[in-house]
């Protein structure tokens, strides 16, 4: 390995050859401000188009200032990051960016959480000296994501996420000069494009150009309606991240405070998506064992590997990009939708409430869930199983709006029966968690033996693609795991080519799984946040008295009283789905 020595702000620095000035400076504690640059180490993602020019520095012997994110540190370089020339340039660049940016900070969805706003503050911009043309794009509304291109600063982080990480290929820089913008092909609306609503573009957007569709007002209205029974479910990953919105350290578990906050917001029943995650394991696990059994018996028609189907971004991805493989994924609905289907039948009967008088709200780390709950197949006579899906960020907003002091709330429990869950369900929120939960149950059902070691360490981690073989009492089960749709594509292409050795594959669309979902508190480029959330979920799992889905007593009761058995006719009707070729719906104009 070759190293170079240089000087940055009078500090001597030794870095590996090829390191950028920006990173070299960071290694000695010199933070150069950036807007477009983004580096997520743990998931191996970097965006450095050198486009914003905020990170310019002075290099001795060079006539022009150098963008530090894409200028390599060289031997004996003398770099200054805060000379008057640098500071003035940075401010001029930022003023030019702001000269074509709407000045509606007070009412912008990103206000208080906006990197552009922070930069204007940091660089002390008090006046914009340039008056020029203003962009006048119309907003693009989709079921999950809103694009307001007037707020786009062409950092192209969304483009990196959409193309390099997710390989979805929806967003790309188009046109040039003043007209340049990031858009789908032919500038079609997101809704008509290849977009999966994974929301990773929203998760990295430094401004208000990409935001989620806000459903908080609908929730407030439902809660205020005395005729409605309002039921809430919270996804596993939410409890590991919500605290960040209230200043708590990443990885702080706030399960009990979250339940308390939801109760104070006025929800009639505070339930948990973890309950239906356990239910998912019963259905998906049984389906896996069924397919596996047939495969082992020599049935050539049975499709293996089975792919998980909990993640709506992933479902959108294969429906739009692999319409020839719709029979490979599990038919099990996602936990969000299983919850809604059971809440509006089994539970509605229990509390003698009509379907129309019940409102089911889900709190999700995800933006694709907003689209998922609006799918026609998840409604009965036009009444959706899940009425509204809000993100972790939107829940935090609701709590703030209702002046609830989150950090002083006591820990409270979820309500029964749909609030009871196991440790297996909690880890649904991280990459590797769904398949680990499935393995715990499938092992015991298949071998009829007690699983001694509940923790499957070999399935855990942050690598984009992982694999492990689990011994089902002499029967080796090959498991594949992918997070990030680009990684999923690789495994799926192997399946398509008949090269896959796996019996089961878990896919989550977002890097890290749901903990890194598009609806989570913004990580602002700090990927250690994702790791902290992951550890929190494994901790919660460890602390649960029951850690296998099939041992959840309320799940057993649900089958006994209502569903019969996994994959029964009723279970099929309420808990399973089928997939559609959505490639043919992608419209060009």
């Amino acid at each position: 390995m070759e190293f170079v020595n240089l000087t940055i702000d009078n500090k001597s620095v030794k870095v590996e050859k090829g390191t950028s000035i920006l990173e070299a400076a960071r290694s000695v504690g010199v933070e150069i401000p950036t807007l477009c640059h983004m580096k997520l180490d743990d998931v191996n993602i970097e965006n450095k188009p050198g486009g914003c020019r905020i990170c310019v520095v002075e290099v001795d012997g060079r006539r022009n200032l150098a963008p530090s994110c894409c200028t390599k540190a060289d031997a004996d370089m003398v770099v200054k990051t805060n000379t008057m020339r640098v500071l003035n340039s940075r401010r001029t660049v930022l003023e030019l960016i702001l000269s074509d940016h709407p000045a509606d900070c007070l009412i912008c969805a990103k206000s208080g959480n906006c990197e552009l706003q922070d930069m204007a503050h940091k660089l002390g911009v008090r006046e914009i000296h340039f008056k020029g043309e203003q962009s006048t794009y119309k907003e693009d509304f989709s079921p999950s994501i809103i694009r307001d291109l007037n707020k786009c600063i062409m950092c192209r982080r969304c483009e990196t996420m959409c193309n390099e990480v997710q390989t979805v290929g929806t967003l790309h820089a188009v046109n040039r000069g003043f007209m340049a913008v990031v858009a789908p092909a032919f500038e079609m609306d997101l809704e008509k494009s290849t977009c999966t609503y994974c929301g990773q573009c929203v998760a990295v957007c430094p401004t208000g150009a990409l935001t989620e569709v806000d459903h908080t007002n609908e929730i407030v209205r439902a809660l205020a309606d005395p005729k409605k029974k309002v039921v809430v479910q919270t996804a596993p990953a939410v409890r590991a991240a919500l605290g960040e919105e209230f200043g708590l350290e990443p990885g702080t578990l706030v399960t009990g405070q979250m339940a308390a906050a939801l109760r104070r917001l006025g929800f009639d029943y505070v339930f948990d998506t973890d309950f239906s995650a356990d239910l998912t394991i019963m259905e998906e696990g049984t389906e896996l064992l069924g397919r596996l059994g047939k495969h082992l018996a020599g049935d050539k028609d049975v499709k293996l590997p089975i792919l998980t189907s909990c993640c709506p971004g992933w479902v959108n991805f294969f429906e739009k990009q692999f319409p020839d493989m719709l029979d490979i994924p599990s038919t099990a609905r996602s936990p969000q939708q299983m919850f809604g289907a059971i809440a509006k039948t089994y539970f509605a009967d229990k509390i003698e409430t009509k379907r129309e008088d019940m409102v089911v709200v889900s709190v999700m780390p995800c933006l694709a869930k907003k689209y998922e709950c609006q799918r026609e197949e998840f409604a009965t006579d036009g009444n959706p199983d899940v009425d509204y899906s809000i993100s972790t960020r939107e829940l935090a907003q609701l709590i703030q709006r209702a002046n609830i002091d989150f950090n002083t709330l006591p820990n409270e429990d979820f309500d029964h029966p749909m609030g009871e869950s196991t440790g297996a369900a909690v880890i649904f929120g991280t990459t590797g968690g769904v398949i680990e939960a499935a393995a715990r149950t499938a092992y015991e059902v298949h071998t009829k033996k007690k699983l001694e070691k509940v923790d499957f360490e070999e399935l855990r981690g942050m690598e984009g693609i992982r694999s492990a073989t689990i011994d089902f009492d002499g029967l080796p089960i090959n498991i594949g795991i992918a997070h990030g749709l680009g990684n999923a594509r690789k495994l799926l292409e192997d399946v398509q080519a008949g090269k896959s050795e796996f019996h089961a594959i878990e896919v989550m669309a977002c890097p890290g799984g749901c903990i890194g979902g598009g609806g989570q508190p913004l990580h602002h480029g700090d990927s250690s946040v994702l790791k902290a959330r992951q550890l929190a979920l494994y901790k919660e799992d460890k602390n649960k008295p029951i850690r296998k889905s099939h041992e959840n007593p309320y799940i057993a009761k649900l089958y006994e009283e209502f569903l019969g058995a996994p994959l029964s006719e009723k279970a099929h009707h309420l808990l399973h789905t089928h997939y559609f070729d959505k490639k043919k719906d992608i419209e060009i104009e």
Partner: protein, 161 residues
Amino acid sequence: MSSVKIKLNQKEVDKLREVCASFNNEPDELINVLHKAQEIFGYLPAEVQEVIAEELNVAVAKVYGVVTFYSFFTMIPKGKHPISVCTGTACYVRGAEKVLDEFKRRLNVEVGETTPDGKHSLSCLRCVGACGLAPVVLVGEKVYGRVSPDGVAEILAEYEV
């Protein structure tokens, strides 16, 4: 797919696929493929971009991004009788801009656009080497010299059928 889709000539599509293949369907050859495609079709409609995206295994959004970045590429078909107004120095000082404005007004199109009936497209060019005739207008291959705004209607009338 949208109903306004244009139908591509199958022979031309086959030719386009051959072009892609001649570049080994290499994504890095996108610009070269686009050049050839524009030679074949005269322009690069969305449908052509889709075929190229499929053949080179790149996102259509990326193809569109490249097409819209380089001014050489166009998504608008040229008119049956393309009109080019010379805005070189000699023509310009002798009133080419007023002539151009008159074409814009009468055809109700901007430079780079084509009339909805597909008859005329309007573009500018720099010097056809006939400065003595300035201002000069080309319609197809035919050269018109000493054009005044008043003469625009007369030129257009020649193409009314």
